[in-house]
């Protein structure tokens, strides 16, 4: 079957590639663009490890076809922070032990990023509801929730100071 010319903006960079329409976005990111932050946990739309931000929505990239994503703007964990300059969420996950093995973490942080864009001051209950599409086998979630709350207050403090 013929390949498609696909254009994506990934972490601010324009990418062009040829792919079969049936290829999944997670495979395009990991195998063609070597963006390996988004992980494959289940490949069945359940675990959220593959979460990326697509056109301002948190999506499971194992359940998006390359063809559907054509033209989209995508942010992965690589686009949020770098080892030298961590995103506040990354700093807070480290400080509050929001990760153990780290497998779920890129999906967790990418999802939490979108949550805080939509709701900058979430309650604990709102965080749990908004993070329900991301599974973690290690932490028991408590410290993930704490890390997101801490990131929210840090971001809000920075915003207030700027005003």
């Amino acid at each position: 079957m013929s390949k498609m010319h696909i254009t994506l903006t990934v972490n601010g960079k324009q990418e062009e590639l040829l792919a079969e329409p049936r290829e999944l976005l997670i495979h395009v990111l990991r195998e063609r663009l070597s963006i390996t932050g988004p992980h494959i946990g289940c490949e069945t739309s359940h675990c959220g490890a593959c979460t990326v931000d697509m056109n301002g929505k948190s999506v499971k990239s194992c359940t998006v076809l390359a063809a559907q994503a054509n033209g989209a703007e995508i942010t992965t964990i690589e686009g949020l922070g770098t080892p030298d300059s961590l995103h506040v969420l990354q700093t807070m996950f480290r400080e509050h032990h929001g990760l153990q093995c780290g497998f779920c973490t890129p999906g967790m942080i990418t999802r939490a990023y979108r949550l805080l864009q939509e709701n900058p001051d979430p309650s604990e209950e709102e965080i749990r509801y908004a993070m329900a599409g991301n599974l973690c086998r290690c932490t028991g979630y408590q410290n993930i929730v704490k890390a997101i709350m801490a990131a929210a207050s840090e971001l809000n403090a920075v915003k207030e100071a700027a005003q």
Partner: protein
Amino acid sequence: MIPAPFEYHRPDSVEAAVKLLSDFGEDARVVAGGHSLIPMMKLRMTDFGHLIDLQAIDALKGIRIDGRRITIGAMTTQHEIIHHAGLATAAPILAEAAGQIADPQVRYMGTLGGNVANGDPGNDMPGVMQCLDATFHLNGPGGSRVVKARDFYEAAYFTARAEDEILTAVSFDTPAGGQAYVKQKRKIGDYATAAAAVVIARSGGRCTAASIAMTNLADTPVWCEEAGAALAGTDLSAAAIEAAVGAMDRAIDPQSDNRGPAEFKRHAAAVVLRRAIAAAAARA
């Protein structure tokens, strides 16, 4: 976990999409959010050569409230329904039900049209649409037509939609009275073990009208006219509620599966219905 090959199309009008559907016949499928279809494609449980993506058709998007009439475009996502201010006042049951579907990521992609067109008995919106007596708007090569939600579902994955038709929108009147959608599930992100959609109108302490529909308790959603009638004209006494629960129990046909034995599902159905009646009555 990669789908079989297909050709991809992204038409930008309903007419163009219908034309593709009629050109390719049985060999074509439309994709909305893809969150029911793509998992099936990955399991190789589908068989088609052309996938028609509806994402670029603006006419299928958006929520319109004209007086009492509410029209929701097929490509409106569950996320958009949850966050729509007008809908929150006009028909809060929509956001209540959408908020209990799957998880946030799925709700950003999953659409109302896909949810009701899919025909999976586990989908939550078909029962809500039957409860509200909604109308489904279809567009095919011969033009447009409407089908009532209560007449749409024939069996699991069989609906009144013809293969060359696109569901463009659903519409319904602002429900008169209190509404509730109560769902029992094993965990977040699961389909219903049992769920109940209820609308109750009240005047001076008496129930004047009621509508009751159940999810995932038969191979189609079950709108139970008798259950609603058992409440209408009563003061919603315990006896009236048990009469409605009894009528509902006779109308459903749950099967034993990994969500439990059929008897357990009947029990769960009665529990969610009692809770939904109480919640709807309190909001009426």
